[in-house]
């Protein structure tokens, strides 16, 4: 590994494509362009502007990192999804609740190609529930081929502990139905069959879109003359290769808030802090620990479907720059907001609605629009409403913290002017520059991870220490597989959970390892 420090971070949102050119931790240039329907031209335009502004040659760029909301949006809108061949291995168990149980009808219609319940699956201690039935799977494969389905989701009971049935079943089915895109549940999620299977089905439905979108990214780079490797950010703040995303696009879900938080942290130089991102309608609050967002522990619904992804723990408050303000003894701020119509409806812009931004201008915290238009606001109202905003945000930050210790608070977003110079419970309040492109900066932070989450029976055959050691090794190996430089990989999180009512000292072990992306300086850059 070498010091190839010039990178590009791109955030492809539904509305805007933001891009930054970074040298180490320094932002050399930033641009914002509208996202285009073909994706490619918006990125090409952004890349061109970056290179022109800095004079950096395409060959000097060591890596390009992209964060995208494309796949989340496709699922939320139930558009551009493929019908999925859904195979579950577990009969006779699990028959009572077939795949797609508890899905909203619209999404079920979009991806529910055909459900096949088959034999297989494992018990918690590794015994098979029933043996794999190869003839059954060959018949399933033939039917999938006959129906012309192009993508396959396979789930098997306890596959996070043992994934051999999923692999073997996929192989048998693909012999009958060649060319299928394959999604295995053991690669997608954790224990909890329905939630893991749901995520796997969503992943399979995205199979062709994933190839198209990563193709568009590669085209954009090629058009711009950049031949460095492309990585995408996943929801836990680590990177994955474009090839991995083609197979597992669900891993990009919720990478937006993660990138925003990590970008804010990097800009402020804080790695253990709270991040408050105040937009037009909401204030999103998250906690970073060692530079990574704390994970939500609960089940996450995506477009009404329960999943058990890794997701950042974010608390959203109905307070933003466009929030309505209702005067009174205890003035009310939000949750209604004028949103992006702020520049038409806010008082300082000559509109008729008293918004939180008007308060900030009246108090001298911001200079937008015409301050004369809010000069007549009562001082008591302005002070009371701003105090109320500060109190609610301080409470929300405190709610998210894990200890009573004061924590640095990093504030970003257009609505950050609503806060003053300090916040109760914050050791300091930091307002970094470049916060408008925090997402793209967050994407450019080059770390990759590997994770293990499985149940093991510890006892005479396998000591607890040995099981933990093996899980640590596996997590590190997965980080290396994902592109981490071996000597930089370290275990960042170990969780061990004894399971109620499970005998033989069964424990659930979760280990996460992180390492620096192994970027190799290409010949062109080294000699150029």
């Amino acid at each position: 590994m070498i010091e190839a420090s010039i990178r590009i971070g791109i955030d492809v949102g539904g509305t805007n494509t933001d891009a930054v050119l970074m040298d180490g931790d320094t932002v050399l240039a930033e641009v914002k362009r509208p996202t285009t329907a073909d994706v490619t031209s918006g990125i090409v335009s952004g890349l061109g502007a970056l290179l022109e502004a800095t004079g950096v040659r395409p060959a000097e760029i060591a890596a390009v990192m992209i964060g995208t909301t494309h796949f989340t949006n496709a699922v939320v809108e139930a558009r551009r999804l493929l019908p999925v061949a859904i195979v579950r291995l577990g009969l006779p168990a699990t028959a009572a609740l077939p795949p797609l149980t508890d899905w909203p009808a619209r999404l079920r219609e979009a991806v529910g190609g055909q459900v096949f319940m088959c034999h297989g699956g494992h018990e918690f201690d590794g015994r098979p529930i029933s043996p794999l039935d190869r003839d059954e799977l060959r018949r399933v494969g033939a039917e999938i081929a006959a129906r012309g389905l192009r993508t396959l989701a396979v789930s098997s009971v306890f596959s996070p502990v043992n994934d051999e049935f999923e692999r073997e079943a996929a192989q048998i089915i693909c012999e009958e139905a060649p060319g299928l895109a394959v999604s295995l549940s053991a690669e997608v999620g954790r224990l909890g069959l329905l939630e893991r299977e749901n995520a796997t089905i969503i992943n399979a439905g995205l199979a062709e879109l994933a190839v198209q979108i990563t193709g568009a990214f590669r085209d954009a780079l090629a058009t711009s003359g950049i031949s460095s490797p492309v990585y995408l950010s996943q929801n836990d703040g680590t990177l994955m290769s474009a090839e991995y995303v083609e197979r597992y696009p669900v891993a990009t879900f919720a990478s937006g808030p993660t990138n925003s938080m990590r970008g804010a942290a990097m800009l402020s130089g804080e790695s253990d802090c709270a991040v408050v991102d105040i937009g037009g309608t909401t204030a999103d609050i998250g906690i970073l620990s060692q530079g990574f967002p704390r994970e939500a522990k609960t089940i996450i619904e995506i477009a009404g479907v329960r999943t058990n992804f890794r997701m950042p723990d974010v608390l959203a408050l109905g307070i933003g720059g466009g929030s309505h303000v209702t005067p009174g003894g205890d003035p009310l701020v939000g949750p209604e907001s004028v949103g992006y119509a702020l520049t038409e409806r806010g008082l300082v812009f000559g509109g008729d609605t008293l918004t939180a931004s008007d308060l900030a201008v009246a108090a001298g915290r911001a200079l937008i629009g015409d301050p004369a238009l809010v000069a007549g606001l009562s001082r008591e109202l302005v002070d009371a409403a701003l105090a109320s905003i500060e109190r609610r945000i301080a409470e929300a930050v405190d709610r998210m913290k894990v200890s009573a210790q004061p924590l640095p608070v990093v504030v970003v977003g257009g609505g950050s002017v609503l806060l003053g110079d300090s916040l109760t419970g914050a050791s300091r309040l930091v307002r970094p520059e470049h916060f408008a492109v925090a997402n793209a900066i967050g994407a450019s932070i080059a770390q990759v991870g590997g994770e293990v989450d499985h149940m093991v029976s510890v006892g005479p055959g396998l000591s607890r220490e040995h099981a933990l050691e093996r899980a640590r090794e596996q997590a590190c190996e997965r980080a290396v597989d994902a592109g981490a430089a071996r000597d930089s990989v370290r275990v960042v999180d170990v969780e061990e959970l004894a399971l109620a009512y499970v005998p033989g000292n069964a424990v659930r072990i979760k280990v996460k390892a992180i390492g620096e992306l192994a970027i190799r300086r290409r010949v062109g850059a080294a000699t150029g």
Partner: protein, 357 residues
């Protein structure tokens, strides 16, 4: 007799989470099973205790094993029917109804799956009035009624009849069967007559769970405090409001135990509360003073939403309110405390009633 459909099922599952006192397993999977069964077979008839004939046979049904396994190895759906029918066959009699042994958590809704599948009425009562970890911890035991004969069935089609010499033996034999069956099995147990039911069950538990669930749902919509509503409904008392500071989990004698430290907020600023849990919350302690213990219900709720939080979900930073609610008065007798009092769970102090009951 009344009818129970999908809407009531949602409320029951939510309310059963409160009555689980931290344990009993997440009712989500059970709710889905019952919902699918109701969709396929129509609504369920619920009967009150006095509507059951004196000599009618009633067979309660339940899931046994690890809730963490059940969310991965989902049931086939036939297990509960097979366990129930095996016990009928063994007894040589048809049962008129089924019912829940445990209103707290997952087992509140398991009998509803059977009831829908077989168009069988379910009795509005249970055998605990909360959740407990072992089969002998049921009120009929205080009246000399046996857990066995019981039937146990798994997803693969295996089933077995267990006839223990006492309830502890039955629990022990059923536990080892459950492990062999993959740590999730369905059981039919405590066969009783209608006359016996009236004396030795907790009446109206389904209604209690449904009322709690409805209260939480409605107070949320009105932006009122669901915790006040739960406290009133259960005749309970607030013990503490705070934030989870520390969760120390360990395995002890084969059980997943945990000690949770809460740091006070609001009126409790500066104070700490310790919760000792083993599947359920067993003891709440402030300094050296025991504020509440089993068999009373120690209930941990999300301070804002009133959502019940299971012992396995508790994490650093959660804002929670701890309530204590009175258990069924029979658990407070000497015989009751011998079965489920603090000393049974290894604590060196006697039970003292914490809440008016």
């Amino acid at each position: 007799m009344r009818q129970l459909g999908e809407a009531q099922l949602e409320d029951i599952a939510l309310g059963a989470g409160v009555l689980g006192a931290g344990g009993g397993g997440d009712p989500y999977i059970g709710k889905l099973l019952a919902r699918e069964a109701i969709r396929a077979n129509g609504s369920i008839s619920v009967v009150e205790l006095d509507e059951v004939d004196d000599d009618a046979l009633v067979i309660p049904t339940a899931m046994m094993g690890a809730p963490t396994v059940m969310v991965e190895k989902l049931p086939s759906g036939d297990e509960v029917v097979r366990a129930f029918e095996q016990l009928q066959y063994h007894l040589g009699r048809r049962a008129a109804c089924t019912m829940s042994i445990e209103i707290g958590g997952l087992n509140s809704v398991i009998p509803l799956c059977l009831a829908a599948r077989l168009s069988l009425p379910v009795v509005d009562a249970d055998l605990m009035g909360r959740a407990f970890p072992e089969l002998q911890m049921c009120i009929p035991g205080l009246y000399g009624i046996g857990t066995s004969p019981m039937a146990i069935a798994d997803d693969k089609g295996n089933s077995s009849i267990i006839d223990g010499v006492d309830n502890l033996w039955t629990e022990r034999l059923a536990r080892s069967h459950t492990i062999d069956m993959g740590c999730a099995a369905l059981v039919a147990l405590y066969p009783m007559t209608g006359a016996q039911l009236r004396d030795c069950t907790v009446p109206g538990s389904l209604q209690t769970a449904e009322r709690l669930g409805r209260l939480i749902r409605e107070t949320r919509v009105r932006h009122d405090d669901p915790i006040d509503a739960i406290e009133m409904a259960l005749g309970g008392r607030r013990l503490f409001a705070g934030k989870v500071l520390d969760v120390n989990r360990r395995t002890e004698r084969g059980f997943a135990r945990a000690e949770v430290v809460l740091d006070g907020l609001g009126d409790d600023v500066g104070a700490q509360l310790r919760l000792h849990t083993q599947n359920e919350h067993l003891v709440a302690q402030r300094g050296d003073e025991v504020l509440a213990s089993v068999p009373d219900l120690i209930i941990v709720l999300d301070s804002e939403s009133g959502q019940p939080i299971t012992t396995e979900e508790l994490r650093y930073g959660f804002r929670v309110t701890v309530l204590v609610a009175p258990c069924d008065p029979r658990w407070r007798t000497d015989a009751g405390l011998e079965l489920v009092g603090p000393r049974y769970f290894g604590y060196d102090f006697d039970y003292r009633a914490a809440a008016a009951g």
